[in-house]
């Protein structure tokens, strides 16, 4: 069964400092990997995805993520965090092979708090 681990419940960072949110995954075969962000009382918003190709993926709002196959990781990064980046971040994985029940599996989420 596929799974996603986000080892940190919360990440605190000062505004202007680099932000990293960790994610590791387990899936059969090659993965499709996604990051979503959730602001209070709102649905999830898509940030970026890795499908194939370049291991460094760039997404919305200055975020990027690096796919590392050997470490089965897909950490989310932002060079300079803003107070408005404070939100709940979810990593998700889906197997690339077409099979019945090939669902998107989410991690438990990491709350990011950016302090002024």
């Amino acid at each position: 069964a596929q799974s996603v681990a986000q080892p940190e419940d919360q990440v605190n960072v000062a505004e202007g400092n680099p932000l990293t949110v960790k994610c590791t995954y387990s899936v059969s075969g090659n993965p499709y990997l996604f990051w979503y962000v959730q602001y209070p009382n709102r649905g999830l918003q898509f940030l970026l995805k890795y499908i194939t190709g370049d291991n460094l993926v760039k997404g919305s709002y200055g975020f990027e993520a690096e796919f590392n196959k050997s470490q089965t990781s897909f950490h989310l990064k932002k060079p300079s965090a803003l107070v408005s980046d404070s939100a709940l971040y979810f990593c998700a994985v889906r197997a690339s092979i077409k099979a019945a029940g090939n669902k998107l599996t989410f991690g438990g989420g990491t709350r990011v708090l950016v302090k002024p």
Binding site: G43, L44, Q45, G101, K103, F106, G107, G108
Partner: protein
């Protein structure tokens, strides 16, 4: 482009009552998903439709939950009878066909069962 619409936004019911949620996906999106998000957890897929056919309902508690997507557009999710543990946010999402397509989520319906 209009996003995924859901209603109602909030619902409070007593246990053993029934409730229904409605979702209107982004125009042209063939795939529609219903997720349950319990406080402090990531979303869990309940059911996935491709057009008006069910692709995956393996995690849907079929003794009390049901869902339909008539005409391959709007969808409804029903709970009957509700239990206390059904208190959660119910998220609807839609996407283009294909496992590599990102999903677009609605604002969710927050259900409280008392």
């Amino acid at each position: 482009e209009a996003g995924v619409a859901q209603s109602p936004r909030y619902k409070i019911i007593e246990k053993r009552q029934s409730v229904a949620f409605w979702c209107n996906p982004i125009s042209g999106h063939a795939t529609l998903y219903w997720y349950q998000q319990i406080l402090g957890q990531g979303p869990k897929l309940l059911i996935q439709f491709q057009n008006n056919g069910v692709v995956d309902d393996s995690q849907l508690p079929k003794d009390r939950f049901s869902a339909e997507r008539l005409k391959g557009v709007d969808s409804t999710l029903k709970i009957q009878p509700a239990k206390l543990e059904d208190s959660a946010v119910y998220l609807c999402a839609s996407s283009l066909a294909g496992g590599d397509a990102e999903q677009y989520f609605g604002p969710g319906t927050r259900l409280t069962v008392t």
